[in-house]
Symmetry: C2
Subunit: 325 residues, 2 copies
């Protein structure tokens, strides 16, 4: 295998500080297949980040600017290396890196301790949900042990990716509609911290109150009540307080013994996702026509019951029109 | 196979009106294994109920009494046969039928057009989630095409079972705490109709208002806004209105083209559940030690990554301490 595509060589080089090698390693993970498996295997044990922070919200809520500010706050604080994964499934770019995000985060372009990577979807969204935690581990294993994951909170997979962080920040904007939209997108359930961004606009206080009222009434809360913080990412106002709340949440998880329990749960969830993907993949590859589509269609036509359908899928022996024995 | 345990014979007899045969058929389904598969296969095509109504709420909220009243309302209306499935995973009874429910619903004991069946868990709750939709199909195929499914809304599986109805009624009692508890249990998300039962007690109006406020603020609602109805199941007050709202919801689904779409989605979900259960079952049976427990423990010890773990599970060739190649 040429060194430029050999996961083991890339990992070694990336760990030694070669950013181009790290970029190529992340590309391997993004692309899937055996090299991705090898990269995942190599980085798994070492790939435990100190803190994974998810940042999500509607398009236009100012997530990228906010992420940029949080990088600054993190670098100013403990000074640890920061890895950023910008997950944008809706991007029309296919190169794996989105220029726009790089430009927006250019304030850190010269900081060797900051690595920003955009991931675009290749094929189905589900693949992205599987690749994201692997990419986080690659970043962590290569020394970026604080990882920010930015996603557009508009669909189930995006919400899932953002929710698979240790601490999830949900960004909303002033205006009643935004809080409602966040609720509809399922963002309230995954929020550990709320950021009311663009808080210099009218309605910020009302949005804060709306969120607090929702928290009063409807959240299945445990010991942690998500704080609601106002900020203006464009000017940096309120960012230190937001960053401090993010740190508080991590400290709370640790103190409650929840930090590793949460990670363990996510890992088992990831295994389930991999299992289902592997099985669907096997079915898709099989030459006998036993594909998911045919079998579910037969199920929906009530030609076979769920157990018969499962049988056909698992035996890989479906023929159109065949009935389970 | 003796006729008393032959699914095909039991189905034929049950369809002809033999209630004992229907009871035995449901026992087969509940017990699982090949006879259950055969019973499921036989009843699948004919097992499409006209309307499946889920009724759930906290223990003590008066669900059984309410269900009893709804049976009366249904019988008084179109006069169709009514099947009732009372799912109580926490029951200590192992006989498959819980005397208590039968006694509570004794007003219908002499009505040959009402069939009440209690299902208790045998083994794991997941099994019950798989058996419940099959039991509904058995009831429907045997002529009980209106099926009420009563569950205790206290855990994920129970909520899942209740939510797998065409129309889900969430029962709460007066008092602020109850509405909050319902929210925490995830019942707000699955509710198509709210019933504030025991509405002759203090606080009923406040509970209604709380629910309406939650609906105003936080539900990912589509075109249907769940109505909140007050009733007193013990006296029958408000039951006609509740029954009518349940019918309205069905009519709405039908008019919106959502009725069959929802059922199709549930069927595919059921297939996924069956697939996962089948795979876990295969793994459990395999003699090579490749069980879920060993592999997930190895994963949580970070000895293998999720892909390696999936490989071990799917190949069925796990040996303690072995590493994926």
């Amino acid at each position: 295998m040429p060194p430029a595509r050999d996961p083991s060589h890339l990992y070694e080089t990336a760990r030694a500080g070669d950013r181009a090698a790290l970029g190529r390693l992340l590309s391997l993970v993004e692309r899937g297949g055996p090299p991705a498996r090898e990269a995942g295997r190599l980085t798994f044990a070492e790939g435990q980040a100190d803190h994974v922070v998810g940042i999500t919200g509607a398009p236009g809520s100012g997530k990228s600017t906010l992420t940029d500010r949080l990088i600054t706050a993190a670098r100013a604080g403990a000074g640890r290396p920061v890895g950023v994964l910008a997950v944008d499934p809706s991007s029309p770019f296919s190169g794996g890196a989105i220029l726009g995000d790089r430009i927006r985060m250019q304030g850190h372009a010269l900081d060797p301790e900051v690595f920003v990577r955009s991931m675009a979807t290749r094929g189905h969204l589900g693949g992205l949900a599987l690749a994201a935690p692997e990419a986080v581990r690659v970043l962590a294993a290569c020394g970026y042990r604080l990882v920010l994951v930015e996603t557009v909170g508009v669909g189930q997979v995006e919400v899932e990716i953002a929710g698979a962080a240790d601490t999830t920040v949900v960004v909303v904007n002033p205006g009643w509609g935004d809080a409602i939209q966040a609720a509809k997108a399922g963002l309230l359930e995954i929020a550990d911290v709320f950021a009311v961004n663009k808080a210099d606009r009218p309605g910020a206080e009302e949005t804060r109150r709306d969120l607090e009222a929702m928290l009063d009434m409807n959240m299945a809360m445990g010991a942690w009540r998500p704080p609601v913080l106002s900020c203006v990412a464009a000017t940096g106002e309120g960012i230190p307080e937001l960053w401090s709340a993010i740190g508080d949440h991590r400290a709370h998880l640790e103190a409650a013994g929840e930090f590793s329990r949460r990670r363990d749960r996510r890992l088992v969830e990831e295994l389930r996702g991999v299992l289902v993907a592997r099985i669907e993949d096997d079915l898709r590859r099989s030459q006998s026509g036993a594909d998911w589509e045919n079998v579910t269609q037969a199920l929906l036509r009530r030609e076979t019951d769920p157990y018969g359908a499962a049988e056909r899928l698992l035996s890989g022996a479906s023929r159109p029109g065949s009935r389970p024995g």
